[in-house]
Every structure is written in C-alpha cells, then in structure tokens.
Amino acid sequence: MEIVIENFTKRFGDLTVIENMNLIIKEGEMLSLLGPSGCGKSTTLFAICGIARMDEGRVFFGEKDVTHTPTQQRNIGVVFQSYALYPHMTVAQNIAFPLTVRHESKQTIKKEVGEMAELVHIEDLMDRRPEQLSGGQQQRVALARALVRKPGALLLDEPLANLDAKLRLEMRSEIRRVQLETGISAVLVTHDQVEAMSMSDRIAIMKDGKILQVARPAEMYQYPENDFIASFLGNPPIAFLDGIVSDENVVIQSVDLKLPVPENIEVPPNGTSIRLGVRPEFYQPHHPHKIPGTVSFVEIQGRENLYDINLKDGSLLRSIQPADVSPLSPGTKVDWGVQPEQLLFFDKSGKRL
C-alpha cells in the first residue's frame, strides 16, 4: 500500500512541530524517518496511524483519504518502542488479540497466529508471558502482533532502542527479512543513522519538523545535500575544515593548506567561505595534500584503528585505518593527507556545492 502525506502540519499549543510536510512511502518499501530527538519523526508516525491528530493536511492510503478515519479502522500495524505487549496475556493471546477483537473464528485465529509465529521464529514461546521473554523475543512478538491482521503498512517506532548491541545487530536483519518476506510498506522511526542506513530502502532525514532530504542510503552518504546530513551520517563522524576560495583553490589558512577545487564543482567567486567535510576514510597517510597534526587519541577497534588527529589550530580530523600490530601512540606527529575529489564542499549556508 502506498502512503501519501500531503501538507501535514502539527502544532502543540503555540509550537509548530511539523510544518507543511509532504512525503510518499512507496508500495513495499521500507522508509526510515531519521533525525535527532524532537525533530518530529514520531509525531509523523503517529499521524499516519491516527493516534495523533493532524492540524492541517491529509493522509492517503493508496487512493483513499483516511485523514478522518479512526485509528481502529485504518488497519495499520504498529510496533511501539516499548513493544507494549499485554503483560497479562500469553504470547499466543497477544498475537491473537487483533483477531479476537474482530471476532474471527477460532480456527482462523489459530491458523493465522501459527503462521505469524513461524514467520518471526517464535513457535516455541507461545505459552510464555511477556516478562519471561528476552528483549529480542518481545520484539518478535510485537512484530507478529502488528502483522497478524495483514495490515496495509507497518510502522516501527525506534524498534531497536531497548535492545543491547548484539541483539540490535540480529534484530536489524530480522525485521528487514520479515518486511521483505511479507512485502509490506514500512516506516521506521529512528535516531540511529546505522539503523536507518542498514535497514531501509530510502531515508527521509528530518530536522526541526522539516524533511531535509529523501534518498537511498548509499546515495545520501555520498551526496548529502547539506553539512547537517553529512555530519549525521557516518561512523566515525565526518570532520569539518573552514576555508576561503582563492583563485580556483580553497585556502585553509589555519593549517596552511591550499586545495584545488575538483572539476565537477563550479568554482565559487574569490573570497567565498567554504566548509570542507573530511570523512575519516579519506584522511589517509598516502594522500597527496598533507595536513600535519598530532595523534591525540587512538581507538583500537580490532579490525581497524581510529585516530583522532589534533591540527595546529586545535581543530580535529579523524582517520580510520586498517588494524596494525603496533598502532601509533598518542603524541606521535603525523603528516597525512586528503584528496580534493573525495571531500565534500559546502557553502556558507551549509548547502553542498
């Protein structure tokens, strides 16, 4: 089912949380709403399922305008951040609840619940109560309950926030698998860029109630529309250097660096302020344009080492390099470099050139 949000505005009292938002979730795709807390992503989710009222704008499910349809009749599956399992019911009763409310026959219920349990791999847990389940299992039950009615869309509100690191990794691929197998349209709300990048077909990145960019994950990582997006995506995060255009070059005085502007970027007039985004994988020993500095911190991550490099003006660049038997120790002076083609160029307002 395709979901269309048209001119959505939401206010809490005098505060406008979301202003005139437009968004389309395509049939069968998983779309992430990604943004820092308070950016309005959960409000958008709750507007789709009908828990939050829209002050202005409309929602369409396919061709149908459901703006004024009660929540109960929208037939949307929601997985809440806390899973919101019913603590006094068994797993089977939890999953069956949406069907018993509809007064389905016992056979139908049993069949459908069984199918769902199989889909999310919890066949052995049907008689347990929620408090006897691990976080990941509760997550699976919540997913089964949300899907048992064969809803038109699945909404996930920070589904991995309550899991530990190991389980998060596992449930990431599990949720994605279930979504792909059922072919359902899904919206994922998250503040974790890794989750958004790894689970979804497209990401809509939000800030202060506005959608900044909608794009495929790899595309958004490589071609962020502004510096906020660039700094939000990527782990370890990007670092920035400030410079000024001078004769087809960007001059960064603080570190005595002069970089040619790459060919695919239109050279701005002399004197324009420019912000350079340097991702850790693009600040490397063998790159030509050297930016000398001192190692201030070494993070050993097993497979790779992350170096924090203090430049002479006090700013910081990060470099990630394959693991080495003898990593550099803090205090070492290094003379690593960058390549202009790999850097991101932003103008004063933060827009990418």
């Binding site: 949307i76 599956g77 809440f80 603590p87 006094h88 509809r102 949300a146 009615r149």
Partner: protein
C-alpha cells in the same frame, strides 16, 4: 552493604516495641475464657460464660448474629459501590484531559481528610429529611461516599502506572476504548482493585461513628455499635462480656489480614509494586 551497619540494636528495639502488643492480645483472649477474682491478677477458672452472647440474646439487645449480618451487608455494599465507582472514575481521571482535572483531584483529596465530625450533623439532617435515617441503605451511601475519594486516589495511582503505549497498542489493534479498558487495562490494575476491595471491606467492618449516629436502632445495629452499647449500659456493665464481644468482632479482621496482607500492601505501593 549490611556490613557497614550493625543491625542488632534495631532488631532489639523493634522486638521490645512489639512484645507488649502481642502480650496484650494474649491476655485479652485469656480473660474472655476465664474468671478473675476482684483484686487479683491471675485468672482462677475456665469458663465459656462470657461467650454466652453467641447463643442467647442479651437483655434489651438484638441478636449478635443480626448485628453481624448487618455489618456484613454494610461492609459488602460499601465495597461494591467503592469498587465500581472508583475503578471507572479514576480511569477517566488518569487518562483524559478533563478541564479542571487538577483542581478536581485536589478537591477529592480535601474531601477525604476533612474532619468528619463537622460533616456528620449535616448528613444527619439530610438523611432524616429524605427518610433514610436509621436505615442500612442510608448509612451505606454515606460511608461509600466518604470512602470514594481515597478509593479514586488509590486506583488512579494504579492506572497511572499502566503504560500509555499499551492502550495505544490496543486501539491500534482495532479495539474500542471500552474493550481496551476492560480487557487490557483493568487486568493490570487487578492488584490495586483487590487491595482496595479488601481495604474498603475492612474499613466498613470497623466503622463506628457513622452507624452509631445514623443507624442506632436495634434492627439495623452493627457490631461496633452493639459493642459500644455494652459500655454505655452503666447498670449491667460486664467487662468480660465486653472483651469477648470485642474479640468476636475483631477475629474476622485479624483472619482477613493474615490471609491478604500481601494484597493490602499493594495499596501502599500505589501501583508501582502492583
């Protein structure tokens, strides 16, 4: 962390504080089945005479069994009213954006701790006016309304502890507001519901002032009033009889407590431990 603190002084202190109370109850019981000569401390013979009120009526008074039945009806009715009203009203208070909600809650609290003696004369007049003076029905209504504020507060505490998302999940699953309340929320406040029920029943059972003033007649008399009337009867005051009736009256309460203390404790947890 216990090794940072010596706790034997506390144990000793608590024991010293509790022993006299237990001692008192043991003595009370011994007194009711023995006779003691005036001026002596120790009982001299075993007797069931002080328990005679169980099988014969005391002069000028109704049967103790009738009083017991009245007390039972009173306590049960109060319980039912308190439970049904507070389980619905407090849900509304906990969940809905009613205007003046805060003021209303403060009002409820004020009503609860208002000195009842100043209220009682007004209540007395009202009951007499509408013809419910000296009826069980009247005193039940009064007691129930005096109990309600606390009941609503307690249940509200339990409702507040039920996560908002569970209700939203229910709505999302297609259930109506009523089904959500009845099938998803109510089962989770069950500990509070049970505790409040027990508490109301025991409160009703122990009530003295209201029945004494609003329903003193023999045929609607309750055990507490029956017991008190034994003292006020100056001519035939039988101290041991008084003790036996007292014990008879207190026994169900003690048994109730011993069986249900854990449920009652939920009230003090205010839902957080429910």
């Amino acid at each position: 962390m216990s090794h940072n603190f010596k706790n034997w002084p506390i144990v000793v202190g608590l024991t010293i504080a509790s022993v006299p109370i237990i001692f008192m109850y043991v003595f009370l019981f011994v007194d009711t089945v023995t006779d003691t000569l005036p001026g002596e401390m120790m009982p001299n013979r075993f007797t069931l005479e002080h328990w005679r009120f169980l099988w014969e009526n005391i002069e000028g008074k109704a049967s103790v069994w009738l009083a017991m039945l009245n007390t039972l009806i009173f306590a049960s009715s109060v319980t039912i009213i308190v439970l049904s009203v507070s389980s619905t009203a407090s849900y509304a208070l906990s969940r809905l954006n009613i205007p003046f909600r805060k003021e209303f809650l403060a009002g409820i609290l004020m009503l609860h701790a208002f000195p009842s003696i100043t209220l009682i004369i007004a209540i007395f007049l009202v009951l007499q006016m509408i013809g419910l003076y000296n009826t069980l029905f009247g005193v039940i209504l009064v007691k129930a309304s005096l109990q309600l504020p606390l009941g609503i507060w307690i249940m509200k505490g339990f409702y507040d502890a039920v996560p908002w998302e569970i209700e939203m999940a229910g709505i999302q699953d297609g259930a109506s507001r009523f089904v959500v309340w009845y099938r998803l929320v109510l089962p989770q406040v069950r500990p509070g519901f049970l505790a409040l029920g027990l508490f109301s029943f025991l409160e009703g059972w122990s009530e003295y002032i209201l029945p004494a003033i609003l329903a003193p007649a023999n045929e609607v008399q309750m055990l507490s009033v029956y017991l008190a009337s034994l003292i006020s009867d100056d001519q035939h005051f039988d101290f041991n009889l008084f003790k036996s009736v007292g014990l008879f009256y207190a026994t169900p309460v003690i048994i109730f407590y011993l069986f249900f203390q854990d449920k009652l404790m939920n009230i003090y947890g205010g839902g957080t431990k429910g």
